[in-house]
């Protein structure tokens, strides 16, 4: 195959070690790639929608996680096939950019590839297909913008935001408490949101998990929760009007980075050094105390002696606070992170209304809550649940909900869910297809079919007859010219998604269609796969 002949007719080899390589070319390569990608999409398709099912994933170390989140599923599946890996990245980029709709994007890509396969069988060139998809994608995006609606996020106690959060949570295991959790997520985001700039710093929302209780016990703490306790068991458990000294240097004798030796050659030296060492601890504690701080949080450890000195000076302290927590506390309390004891000044202290230790369960685990911080309102969502798997899944779900709310604050345009937006786009794309006179027409038409695949899949997962319900919805959309008609997944008796209050963000839908089209185009451009044989 990759054999060439020189001027004298002697064969020479272009690919090194070609005997040991596996190679697929042309149609064979296209088909193999598409099938592999479709296999991934198929796995995910049953997770789509409010009645979607979960996947149980067992890690190489035997740890079990149960999830409905597309990005998590594909990430933990250990996919090996190169093309299938593209879909993994697709889901992850949706996760990174939007945070929600990670399942939908993969399913859409799968449907597009399915259509591409039939077109390839018809003998249409892959580039024509990808061109057609590209044009159809543009039309769909434009139409999405025209059917989108602006919502007032402030109205009615942020009802719209709560509904959007509920839509995101509806497909998860926590769906029973979606309203409560949705409210928690909305309050958390609004607490930290900068509404004037339409920006939300998600770093200010900390999600802490703790097994025990049940999902209902999940609550919002207006403050920061850190999984640490006081360094000395006899320090006070509560500090009011805390002035926080945030240190990133250990309460230990200094360790200069330059390599050095201290040589002791006489007993005097020995004594001097001892005094010097004691002095270090006294000085350190004094510096902190003099600044007016009444609690010290340190990223590093404490020497026993220093620890006791802190206690003696009535200065509660916490050691081994993680780096991210230190930053969060700095942001929230207005404290400056102090890298050296010499640099402690009263201005660098952070302020908080209350710092206290709270206890859980019977195993004597304690956590520290920092409440009423001075600067921004950092918040913590404490998730509880019957087991580690539930808690983990709840964490992922709440993260999704938070992302949705943030996106809505950034851009308050929404489209309606339940497959209605996809259906509306499909209708529009189909109309456009008839205006195109070249081969792309077929590809554009297939794109519309693929878009219809999403409501089909939704209906399928909900136990409805996919073909009848999609046909019914489509006909009604055309007849009433109403882009809000979708699939009635929850069996509420109406197929108008506005009445069902199924909100999805415009940015998420747009991103889904664009990303899926891009990946499909990329897969369609591959006509040769070369891999080592034993791969």
């Amino acid at each position: 195959m990759s054999l060439a002949f020189d001027d004298y007719g002697r064969p020479y080899i272009i690919l090194r070690d070609q005997g040991q390589k596996k190679r697929m070319k042309g149609l064979e390569a296209y088909k193999s790639n598409i099938l592999a990608a479709k296999a991934v999409a198929n796995t995910l398709s049953s997770s789509l929608g409010p009645k979607g099912m979960d996947k149980m994933l067992v890690s190489p170390d035997g740890d079990v996680s149960v999830t409905n989140d597309g990005a998590t599923i594909v990430e933990k599946m250990e996919i090996q096939h190169p093309t299938a890996k593209l879909l993994v990245e697709l889901s992850q980029s949706q996760d990174a950019e939007i945070g929600d709709g990670t399942t939908g994007v993969v399913v859409l890509a799968g449907k597009l590839l399915e259509q591409a396969l039939t077109l390839l069988d018809k003998g249409i060139h892959p580039l024509k297909i990808s061109d057609g998809f590209d044009r159809a994608c543009d039309v769909a995006i434009k139409h999405l913008e025209t059917i989108s609606e602006e919502i007032d996020i402030q109205a009615n106690e942020h009802e719209a935001l709560i509904q959007a959060a509920c839509t995101a949570l509806g497909s998860k295991v926590v769906s029973k408490r979606k309203r409560e959790l949705g409210k928690i997520a909305v309050t958390a985001v609004l607490d930290v949101a900068d509404l004037a700039r339409r920006d939300v710093n998600l770093d200010l929302i900390k999600i802490q998990t703790k097994t025990g209780g049940s999902v209902e016990d999940t609550r919002l703490i207006s403050g920061i929760l850190i999984d640490k306790d006081m360094s000395h068991p006899q320090m006070p458990k509560e500090v009011k009007d805390a002035k926080i000294c945030l240190l990133t240097c250990p309460f230990e004798p200094p360790k200069p980075k330059t390599k050095h030796n201290i040589n002791i050659s006489s007993a005097d030296d020995y004594k001097k050094l001892y005094l010097q060492e004691q002095q270090y601890f006294v000085d350190m504690v004094k510096l902190v105390k003099n600044s007016g701080a009444n609690i010290a949080l340190c990223q590093w450890g404490f020497d026993d002696e220093a620890n006791h000195l802190l206690l003696q000076n009535e200065l509660p302290a916490v050691r081994w606070v993680s780096g991210t927590d230190v930053e969060l506390i700095a942001m929230a309390t207005g404290a400056r992170i102090i890298p050296r004891f010499q640099e402690i000044t009263p201005e660098k202290l952070g302020k908080a209304g209350c710092v206290k230790e709270v206890q859980f369960g019977t195993s004597n685990e304690r956590m520290l809550v920092i409440e009423n911080c001075q600067c921004t309102k950092a918040v913590t969502i404490l998730i509880r649940g019957g087991s580690q798997m539930i808690v983990d899944e709840a964490k992922r779900s709440i993260h999704d909900a938070i992302c949705v709310i943030r996106n809505l604050i950034k851009d308050n345009r929404i489209v309606y869910g339940g497959g209605s937006a996809e259906l509306a786009c499909a209708i529009q794309v189909l109309q456009y297809a008839d205006e195109v006179s070249s081969v792309e027409q077929y590809a554009i038409r297939s794109f519309a079919d693929a878009l219809e695949g999403i409501p089909c899949c939704l209906a399928d997962n909900c136990g409805l007859n996919p073909i009848t319900s999609v046909a019914q919805a489509k006909a009604l959309q055309l007849k009433e010219n109403n882009p809000r008609i979708g699939i009635d997944c929850m069996e509420l008796g109406t197929i108008d998604m506005k009445e069902q209050k199924i909100y999805e963000t415009l940015s998420s839908k747009k991103q889904q269609i664009q990303l899926a089209t891009q990946v499909v185009k990329m897969i369609l451009k591959i006509d040769d796969v070369i891999a080592p044989d034993d791969y």
């Binding site: 099938l35 592999a36 035997g62 996919i79 299938a84 049940s214 002791i264 001892y274 019957g386 580690q388």
Partner: protein
């Protein structure tokens, strides 16, 4: 060649497996039910114990555990089935959160799935089953809360309730014959805490020898250590200094220090300086004027001698928890530096009497008449370490439940009463619900009713008959009826004094239904290739 393109290429890594739909579901059900069946026989006062024998080479092979505690059994099991792991996980959480009901939670989740499997076979979609379970859970929870009662924390009734609860918890354990004795013991220990929930202050000391009956609660505080030789064995009106400091030799903490000398004289000088330093430290300690010195770390002969010479009783090498307890009990501060003797009044702990006592063959130090009387010690005696370990676990369970009760204050009747009441509530609800969910609600009721059924079966009674009679009694409005496991009849729980903590039941119900839901929602299991490990 043609066909290659149509064959599904390998997507996952080698050895990774993917099970879908029915296969996946079957796997989860089988795994979860197997685990539940395994612990089922330990349920109830007539439940049996299990022997856990570790596998693997070496000495551990010989160390076996005999237990009735669900969490301990499940924790030690090695299972591969992912659904089974979820059940083990909830049992662990139950243990951490409330300390008891670890078997119940696993069995209940298993029974729910067993009922769920039947519904799936009837072609009811898992989501419908889940929808039904959710309704059922809410109804059950509401009923559970409605039937619970609350007493004032200081009243005699509450105190009686605590004893009853402890007795119920202990009745399924090895020490069931002595449960009255131990229940009393546990309640006393917990009441000493005065509402605080720190279990650390209750120390459990296990000493082989004697019989279980010889166990007792010591008002004072016992440290499993010895007083150093040459010190007084009995100190009245002791002033205690609790320290965590190096008393071997003070290592120089400044980084990169090296002792470099050029003559033998200098070595001697440094040695003297080192000694001097230690003496200095001891002098500083002496300024506090303690009569007893307790240190967490090792104490070398030299400082020990210095201290003993000054008439101070020295206790070295106390473990960290022991230290904290000593500090808490005597009201001492744990010191690491000794530069503020003027604070001596604040930092020294106090107790009326410290003496060395013998329990069995071991010497221990007993602190009586402590300043803060929260800490106490339970001394367990028994014929073998296996028995002691199991008694320890049982006592731990009882203490956890009692502490939870003190916090939550609400109690329900035991003997399967709460489960039957919840089941009845679910069945009433099922009659009102339209749609397929009603089947799931009925299934939930059946699963709940399985708990008393299993308890009966384990006792060797005719469960079918007993449970039916039980139902009838409840229907008659006899709200305190329950299983009398000594006679095998339906008895009155208020007469028998069988009570349970609401919080334990609540947690078991919620955790079990959450776990069952989690497993029910799965339609696909992807197992990654196991990580390759080098064999040592």
């Amino acid at each position: 060649m043609d066909i290659v393109g149509n064959v599904l290429p390998q997507v996952l890594k080698d050895e990774a497996t993917e099970d879908k739909g029915e296969m996946a579901r079957l796997q989860s059900f089988v795994g979860a039910i197997a685990v539940a069946d395994l612990v089922k026989t330990t349920l109830g006062p007539k439940g049996m114990d299990k022997i856990l024998k570790p596998t693997g080479p070496g000495q551990e092979m010989t160390h076996i555990t005999v237990t009735n505690d669900g969490a301990t059994i499940l924790k030690s099991m090695y299972v591969e089935n992912p659904a089974a792991k979820i059940l083990i996980e909830i049992s662990k959480t139950q243990d951490e959160e409330v300390g008891d009901g670890t078997t119940t939670v696993a069995v209940l989740a298993g029974e729910l799935l067993r009922e769920g499997e039947k519904l799936i076979q009837k072609r009811i979609h898992p989501q419908h089953v889940i929808a039904g379970w959710r309704i059922a859970r809410d109804v059950a929870l509401k009923r559970l809360r409605d039937i619970s009662t609350e007493n004032d924390i200081n009243s005699q009734e509450f105190h009686d309730d605590l004893v009853k609860i402890a007795r119920t918890t202990l009745s399924s354990k090895l020490i069931t014959s002595d449960r009255n004795y131990f229940a009393d013991l546990c309640v006393k220990a917990v009441l000493r805490l005065k509402g605080s929930s720190n279990l650390d202050y209750i120390q459990i000391i296990k000493l082989p020898g004697g019989t279980i009956r010889d166990s007792y609660l010591d008002d004072g505080f016992i440290l499993k250590k010895q007083i150093t030789i040459g010190c007084k064995r009995r100190i009245e009106n002791a002033k205690i200094l609790v320290a965590n400091t190096a008393m071997d030799y003070d290592k120089i903490k400044i980084y990169g220090t090296k002792v470099k000398v050029n003559s033998m004289d200098k070595v001697a000088e440094i040695e003297a300086a080192e000694k001097e330093k230690m003496k200095h430290k001891v002098d500083k300690i002496l300024k506090y004027q303690p009569t007893v010195f307790v240190n967490r770390q090792l104490i070398y002969n030299y400082p020990e001698q210095l201290l003993a010479d000054s008439g101070i009783t020295v206790i070295e090498h106390a473990d960290f928890e022991g230290m904290e307890r000593v500090a808490a009990a005597t009201g001492a501060e744990i010191l690491s530096t000794f530069d503020a003797p003027e604070r001596s009044q604040q930092v020294l702990g106090h107790c009326d009497l410290i003496e060395e006592i013998m329990i069995g063959e071991e010497k221990m130090i007993k602190f009586t008449g402590c300043k803060k009387n929260e800490a106490c010690t339970i001394v367990l005696r028994g014929a073998s370490t296996h028995i002691l370990d199991e008694v320890d676990r049982s006592i731990h369970d009882a203490l956890c439940v009692l502490i939870t009760t003190v916090k939550n204050k609400r109690v329900v009747w035991g003997g399967g009463n709460s489960e039957m009441q919840m089941a009845a509530a679910c069945e009433e609800e099922a009659k009102k619900v339209q749609g397929k969910q009603a089947f799931a609600i009925e299934a939930f009721a059946r699963a709940l009713r399985q708990i008393p059924t299993i308890i009966c079966d384990n006792g060797g009674y005719d469960s079918a008959e007993l449970i039916q009679n039980f139902k009838v009694e409840l229907q008659k409005g006899n709200n305190t009826c329950g299983l009398n496991m000594t006679d095998g009849t339906i008895g009155n729980m208020s007469e028998l004094g069988v009570k349970e903590c609401l919080r334990v039941k609540e947690q078991a119900l919620m955790a079990a239904s959450e776990a069952a839901e989690l497993i029910m929602r799965v339609d696909n299991i992807v197992k990654c290739a196991p990580r390759k490990r080098e064999r040592a």
